[in-house]
């Protein structure tokens, strides 16, 4: 964040007007342990620092520590829910939110945290995740079953066209729901979700992906046989890294891969027990437990054309003609 950005000036003004010295210091200490504004400004402990100068210093220090967005999130939460049981009217919060939007950050209403404006940029970290820090993440993993057979039995151009389509489809469906594709390995990949309703988003993405692959198989698939995919979604904590090799070593990633590769049948999409409780009934209705013993509590989804019905249901009467 630029020091002279309008949003920085707005935040400084807001701290001064709405929080005052004592609360501003408590705020700073909640981010930087033992923060001492006198020492930062070179004042002896016995000399009081003017409030306006103090909040200015606090904001600049938090920017330098890379904590400015966290500071604004704190202001948003305090404006909406109060702080330590007391309600505070945060002056100019709307201007601050507008300013953040100008800087390329949108507020996620669910988690009350900022993420990068997808109209301006799309990065794997949503512009927020920090390397080495642990976050709650929902992962969606997909994999093409029998990849070796597909590659051997088809021409390189057909395989490339089909796999390109799958990769683009996966990316489009994930980004539509604020997900990010973190890993792509040629015959499968992994997307992450953190904003909005990440568990619901991952579930809907997995379902849409299976539906689209079925349609692709029914009309446009250039390969000799229908493409079979396995997909799995799982949620937990993960230490963020920009290096895919490091991500693959994370326990959450290993568990997701295990659910997909060991317990998910081809043409199926599984959600783990950490996701299922967060999925709305109307969507969860079309998931079912696996038919065979599975040591993990998972629910599976698959879709296929419905066989012909014996008799069509009765229709209502025609009221009028065209």
């Amino acid at each position: 964040m630029r020091h002279k950005s309008p949003v920085v000036l707005n935040v400084t003004r807001t701290l001064y007007l709405s929080l005052g010295m004592e609360l501003s210091l408590r705020l700073a200490r909640s981010f930087v342990e033992g923060y001492d504004v006198n020492r930062r400004m070179g004042f002896p402990p016995s000399v009081p620092v003017p409030v306006q100068d103090a909040v200015n210093r606090i904001v600049l220090d938090l920017i330098e520590a890379g904590l400015f967005i966290e500071l604004v999130e704190w202001l948003v939460r305090t404006d909406r829910h109060g702080y330590m049981g007391k309600q505070y009217a945060i002056a100019g919060i709307d201007e601050i939110l507008n300013g953040m939007e100008q800087e390329g950050y949108l507020l996620d209403p669910e988690s009350e945290s900022f993420y990068e404006d997808p109209r301006k940029q799309r990065t794997p970290s949503w512009g927020r995740l920090k390397v080495g820090v642990e976050y709650p993440i929902t992962l969606l993993r997909i994999d093409i079953a029998n990849n070796t057979r597909v590659v051997r039995a088809n021409g390189a151009a057909e395989v490339e066209a089909a796999y390109d389509y799958i990769r683009e489809l996966f990316q489009r469906i994930a980004e539509k729901r604020r997900g990010r594709v973190w890993i792509w390995e040629g015959d499968g990949g992994m997307a992450a979700f953190q904003y909005g309703h990440p568990n619901m988003s991952a579930t809907l993405c997995g379902m849409e992906f299976m539906n689209e692959i079925l349609l692709y198989n029914l009309q446009a698939n250039p390969l000799d046989k229908p493409i079979q995919l396995r997909a799995a979604a799982h949620a937990g904590f993960l230490r963020y890294s920009e290096n895919p090799a490091e991500l693959l070593r994370e326990e959450l990633v290993k568990e997701t891969v295990e659910i997909e590769s060991r317990y998910t049948a081809p043409d199926s999409f599984s959600i783990s027990a950490s996701i299922a409780p967060h999925v709305d009934g109307i969507v969860k209705d079309c998931f079912a437990p696996p038919r065979e013993y599975c040591p993990r509590e998972i629910l599976s989804y698959s879709i296929r054309p419905r066989p012909a019905r014996a008799q069509a249901p009765a229709k209502r009467t025609v009221r009028d003609r065209v």
């Binding site: 939007e101 997808p118 109209r119 809907l204 379902m207 849409e208 539906n211 689209e212 079925l214 349609l215 198989n217 029914l218 009309q219 998910t264 049948a265 081809p266 043409d267 199926s268 709305d280 009934g281 109307i282 969507v283 209705d285 079309c286 998931f287 079912a288 437990p289 696996p290 038919r291 065979e292 629910l299 599976s300 989804y301 698959s302 879709i303 296929r304 054309p305 419905r306 066989p307 012909a308 019905r309 069509a312 249901p313 229709k315 209502r316 025609v318 003609r321 065209v322």
Partner: protein, 326 residues
């Protein structure tokens, strides 16, 4: 080029400088009904349109044939302004737009851009690729018969849904369903002919039957997601169904049909209302034979309706892992 500013706020006229400008209220404008000239550009002020009607307005603008349109969004109501250009908009004025931003030079640029889109844009390419010999709706002569594809899309049990959801939620459901059908019509360069609370009848170039079937199947496959995400249903899954027929139709411009009712369209209406079951697709006559063999196998003989053979796709079913593979 003349600018038509659709707004309730006179202040927005300040955005225009030295161009011929007409201001109109959103209430007096129906984008699909007016004969729009190639030399008019409609600027819709989103702030003058009620929040709930915005998407409907954008869909109407996008569907209006021959209309060049743009959006003024001073209140940053749109999450994704780029999507407007995919819908067919030719200009966008956001919150930062300064006074006099729309001048003669800008309109000239827009005209050049719109002409490029008409000739070389993705829409034109798609039209050429998909429509083959179809001359375009504007080129059809009145009272002459043409072979066209008629698609009936119905909402299953609309009356029951209205009772269960209540009027307010049902009206939102209706608008969302209309949005889905409009997107389908627009994607394939069709023409929405008639619609009511529970059904839509649209016409398409005859070569598009196969693509239409795939699009209808996509809607049926994603019906649960659509119900949750677009129709905002929390308790039950909405259900659409489709009938498709290639037929010879005497052409009249929309809104000028008078009492002329085609037997073919009447047949489609009755087929949809009386015969087609929920979440399925009915194809009339030999239409199924023109499909890709992989698709054709999914359409099974469903008897006949008013002496015409019907082939039916029974929709999708979802469950746990397939029994043969679990």
């Amino acid at each position: 080029m003349r600018a038509v500013l659709v707004t309730r706020s006179k202040a927005l006229e300040l955005l225009f400088d030295g161009v011929e400008l007409v201001r109109r209220s959103p209430a007096e404008l129906d984008p699909s009904a007016l004969p729009w000239g190639q030399d008019e550009l409609v600027y819709l002020d989103l702030g003058s349109v009620p929040k709930r009607q915005r998407s409907e307005w954008l869909e109407r603008l996008a569907a209006a044939r021959g209309l060049r349109w743009a959006v003024i969004d001073r209140g940053r109501a749109l999450d994704d302004p780029a999507a407007l250009f995919r819908l067919g908009a030719v200009d966008y004025l956001g919150a930062e737009a300064r006074e006099g931003v729309v001048d003669r030079a800008r309109l000239d640029d827009i005209r050049a851009y719109a002409e490029r889109l008409d000739n070389h844009g993705p829409k034109a390419a798609r039209h050429r690729a998909h429509h083959g010999g179809f001359p375009g709706w504007d080129a059809l002569a009145e009272d002459k018969s043409y072979e066209l594809c008629a698609l009936y899309a119905g909402v299953w049990d609309a009356d029951g849904l209205r009772t269960r959801l209540g009027e307010l939620r049902f009206s939102r459901f209706k608008a969302a369903a209309a949005g889905i059908v409009n997107a389908l019509v627009q994607e394939h360069g069709g023409l929405l002919w008639i619609s009511d609370d529970q059904s839509f009848l649209a016409l398409f170039p005859p070569e598009l039957a196969s693509q239409l079937v795939v699009s209808a199947m996509r809607i049926l496959a994603n019906m649960r997601l659509i119900s949750y995400e677009q129709l905002r249903l929390e308790q039950e899954v909405g259900c659409l169904y489709f009938c498709l027929r290639r037929c010879e139709l005497p052409w009249q411009k929309p809104g000028q049909t008078g009492t002329v009712v085609s037997d073919a369209l009447n047949y489609m209406y009755h087929l949809g209302r009386k015969f087609t079951p929920p979440c399925s697709i009915d194809l009339v006559d030999e239409l199924a034979d023109s499909l890709d063999p992989r698709l054709k196998t999914l359409f099974i003989d469903a008897g006949s309706f008013e002496n015409r053979p019907i082939r039916r796709f029974h929709g999708f079913e979802s469950a746990g892992a397939p029994p043969d593979q679990a």
